[in-house]
């Protein structure tokens, strides 16, 4: 799946490079927007259908949310600091 996705990304890039017109850019933007909204809706349907998730959410929902938040926040802080460090070194 991962490699197939990378291949599709590369194919889109290739088509965009070959066409190289404003139309290609607009088409790319429309495709990615439509794809994103359809994907999110379908993902939402799948999540809403997860029977076990609904049943267990009341018991461990808050713990799961706090762990997700902490992991995301940790990633944001450390990556933000790493970016600052890299940009500072580039300037030196």
């Amino acid at each position: 799946m991962m490699w197939l996705l990378l291949a599709v990304l590369a194919l889109g890039f290739l088509v965009g490079r070959l066409v190289r017109s404003g139309l290609a850019r607009r088409t790319g933007k429309t495709l990615s927007t439509v794809g994103l909204l359809f994907l999110l809706f379908a993902m939402g349907v799948r999540l809403g259908q997860e029977e076990f998730l609904r049943m267990k959410l009341a018991s461990f929902g808050l713990s799961a949310l706090s762990l997700a938040f902490a992991a995301g926040a940790g990633a944001v802080v450390v990556a933000g600091l790493a970016e600052r460090m890299v940009r500072k070194r580039k300037r030196l």
Partner: protein, 199 residues
Amino acid sequence: MIGIVLSLGAGILFGFSGLFPSTLEGFLERWIDVSLYVLVFGVGMELAWESKALEEIRSLGLRVFLLPLAAMVGSLSGAAFVALCSPMTLRECLAVASGFGWYSLSGVLLARLGNPSLGLFAFATNVFREILTLVNLEWVYRVFGGWAAVALGGATSMDTTLGVLSRVSGGKLVPLGVVSGVLHSLCVAPCVMFFSRFL
């Protein structure tokens, strides 16, 4: 941003209401796959016009690997912090956070490794991480910068959150998102197994 929340929220409500026929399960999976391919193809076309994004990758060189590395260290540090102030053990928190947003793989792996309830917990945690990313990516990019925005998505920055990354950064973060997402994805299975078995 409103479109993102509305699409996801409408989908969750629709699925939760039971209006979606269970006989169309296979169709839903195909729908997700096709939407993902359309999204990624469109992002690729947009990327062809974003010369700055590729220049950024070129100028970073090997330092580009610093971003996923920092993101993984940050995710695991956040999880370790939760272990300090919750009844969960460090091993459990680190194993669950090692999903880096890839809920299907981390949940299944932990369940197969003999801990089905931790598998469910990993599934829910990583679903939340993906939803938190989709909803917060825009302001995280504005306040903390590009690397932080990519890091927030973890493994999802190469697929489901790639479209939002592309949207908020005008395509600039797409190559970084792909590199970071691929590396995160490659590390999910070894990290989950390591933390659940050996730590």
